[in-house]
């Protein structure tokens, strides 16, 4: 897979390049500012960009804004945002176009190498990857305010894992459930969130979105 990295800390940038190269990917460009990221993506057309939220010169959310710019220009741009901290609001902005192909992870997750590489694959293939921390934040909020209109505790759990970007099989493994019951839960979730039953990858993103905007 051809990847562009935007990360301002040399230590982390080099570590990320080594990690991805060692696992069979190609890092076509490793840059340290938002404008350089835009230029690199335009030049290399990578399969995925891995972008730090906070970039020079402002050290605010330049990385996130650059990612949104990229996706506004070409909705098929795949971006995985990594950060030292996670904010629910940023997740909402990333998912807002309902198209998938985005991820938002804590940098810590890099240390769980297999999960991280899974997330990289998933986002590059148009899926999503939300940090469990983001999902936890979403749940504190919605379960309190609305009780998520009729979602059972188990359905919320399944939706949380869907939000993280897990496949049905992975959800089965995580919750120790039979594939049939996971599918039943997912059908119920879609029904309760008023989503049409057509099956495609973006539908899962829309389910999460519907949940976020609830």
């Amino acid at each position: 897979m051809r990847i562009v990295i935007a990360e301002d800390l040399l230590l982390l940038r080099d570590g990320m390049v080594r990690l991805l190269t060692d696992t069979g990917h190609t890092v076509v460009a490793a840059v340290d500012t938002a404008p350089a990221l835009l230029a690199a993506v335009a030049e290399h057309r990578p399969d995925l960009s891995i972008v730090d939220v906070r970039l020079p010169p402002g050290f605010r959310d330049e990385g996130l804004r650059a990612a949104l710019t990229l996706r506004a220009g070409d909705p098929d741009t795949r971006v995985l945002i990594v950060s030292q901290y996670v904010e629910r609001a940023y997740a909402v902005e990333l998912l807002a176009d309902g198209r998938g192909g985005v991820g938002y992870l804590l940098k810590d997750r890099v240390t769980a190498l297999d999960d991280f590489l899974d997330a990289v694959e998933r986002v590059a293939n148009g899926g999503t990857a939300l940090d469990p921390e983001v999902v936890r934040q979403l749940f504190t909020r919605n379960s309190r305010n609305h009780g998520v209109d009729g979602l059972t505790a188990r359905e919320q759990e399944v939706l949380g894992l869907m939000a993280q970007g897990l496949s049905n099989a992975a959800i089965c493994a995580a919750l120790v459930l039979a594939p049939v019951s996971v599918e039943k839960h997912i059908t119920n979730i879609f029904a309760k969130l008023d989503l049409p039953p057509a099956e495609d990858a973006n539908r899962r993103v829309r389910a999460v979105l519907a949940y976020l905007n609830h």
Partner: protein, 405 residues
């Protein structure tokens, strides 16, 4: 009306006496201190004279109450402590000392003119009103017109009475205005001037600065302790686990579980650091400003929080930070102590000030001197702001911070 006029009259007439006393004292004390200045007694004499001058000026301040409704405030700064020489320096350096003297000098001509004029006007006026009772006793056939018909005929004398009664408001107004003018001049010289305000302001600033420095030092200690007990300890633990794994690998033993453990310990260290950073300055506050940061807080709060205000308003970093921590503490208190279910947070911008108000539906009874609120107060006062809390038993609790920006 009658009372205020009488007060003004009393003030003007007593000024006559006060002016005489004041001038006499100024002359006597200046002469006395001047003569004693060539001896060792000059200093103490100056202090003594200043003490008497201040007592006289105090009498003047209280006398002004007859007209102004309230005594003039005392401008003196404490000169206690120190040697006689230091105290002389301190007393001489206070503008109030010399302004007192200036007033006692000015009071003499003012009091003389005002007192005599007020007496004459009042006597003549009252005499005119009661003219029928006495004018017959002093026949004056050579008085010029119009005094002759007024004084010498009965209708004329009653005419004087009518005229006097009609003119009463005019005379009363004159007396009140003259009294007011004199008292206002007294206030200009005797009230605390810019000097005292500046000295007080400097003292207040020094105090708040000290409190801020204390609060900052305490905060740094807390961060140091948190780092030491939290992230640092976990990183050390990870290092030890890895060292162990390295030894196992040298001998060819399986080390995978140790490496996995070290990774988990590092994860914990990172989580710990993130928690700490959030407590120092939440990143979203820098990124997106107060409104977004409060929205994030609201999301984590067990209360239903409504946020009012313009999401795009940005303020200086220090103001946003203080406002954020007021809201964070307020929300935490509302959930923990007040047993509240909802809270309204409003952010209002008004003429160079941002006003943050939290209103909950809890049971009230918050202690305004509690340690959390005290810390907030320091934080707010460090920015020249004001923190107020009202929390009657039964609620609701309203926590409000005004922050100039």
């Amino acid at each position: 009306m009658i009372r205020t006029t009488a007060s003004a009259l009393g003030y003007l007439v007593s000024s006559l006496v006060a002016g005489l006393v004041g001038l006499a004292w100024v002359l006597a004390s200046t002469l006395g201190v001047g003569l004693l200045a060539i001896t060792q007694l000059g200093g103490p004499a100056f202090l003594g004279a200043a003490w008497v001058t201040r007592r006289l000026a105090d009498v003047e301040r209280r006398r002004a109450r007859w007209v102004l409704g309230a005594a003039i405030a005392t401008p003196y700064l404490s000169t206690d402590g120190g040697t006689v020489r230091q105290r002389i320096g301190a007393v001489a350096a206070q503008p109030a000392t010399w302004r007192d003297l200036a007033w006692l000098v000015v009071l003499f001509p003012l009091g003389l003119a005002g007192g005599i004029a007020a007496t004459v006007v009042t006597v003549v006026h009252l005499a005119a009103v009661v003219a029928p009772l006495w004018a017959w006793a002093v026949p004056n056939p050579h008085a010029p017109f119009p005094m002759r018909p007024l004084m010498t005929t009965v209708p004329g004398r009653f005419g004087l009475t009518v005229l006097g009664v009609l003119l009463l408001p005019v005379t009363a107004w004159l007396l009140r205005t003259a009294g007011q003018a004199q008292a206002l001049l007294a206030r200009a010289l005797l009230a605390p001037g810019a000097h005292r305000h500046l000295v007080e302001e400097a003292a207040r600033l020094a105090q708040t600065r000290r409190r801020v420095v204390d609060a900052q030092a305490a905060e740094l200690r807390r961060i140091e302790r948190d780092l030491h007990d939290g992230a640092q300890a976990r990183i050390v633990a990870a290092g030890m686990t890895l060292a162990l794994a390295a030894r196992k690998l040298r001998t060819g033993a399986a080390a995978a579980s140790d490496v996995e453990l070290a990774r988990r310990q590092l994860d914990d260290a990172l989580a710990e650091l993130r928690r700490l950073v959030r407590g120092i300055h939440p990143p979203i506050l820098t990124d997106r400003g107060l409104h977004a940061a409060v929205a994030a807080l609201a999301g984590d709060s067990p209360l239903a929080v409504e946020i009012r205000g313009d999401p795009d308003d940005r303020y200086p970093a220090a103001v946003e930070s203080a406002a954020y921590f007021v809201i964070a503490e307020g929300l935490a208190n509302a959930g923990k102590h007040a047993d509240a279910r909802t809270c309204v947070v409003s952010l209002t911008r008004r003429a160079g000030t941002v006003i943050v108000t939290l209103t909950d539906d809890g049971q009230g009874g918050a202690d305004p001197s509690g340690s959390g609120l005290d810390g907030l107060r320091r934080r707010v006062e460090a920015l020249d702001g004001r923190l107020t809390i009202t929390s009657p038993p039964g609620g609701p609790t309203v926590l409000s911070a005004e922050l100039p920006h």
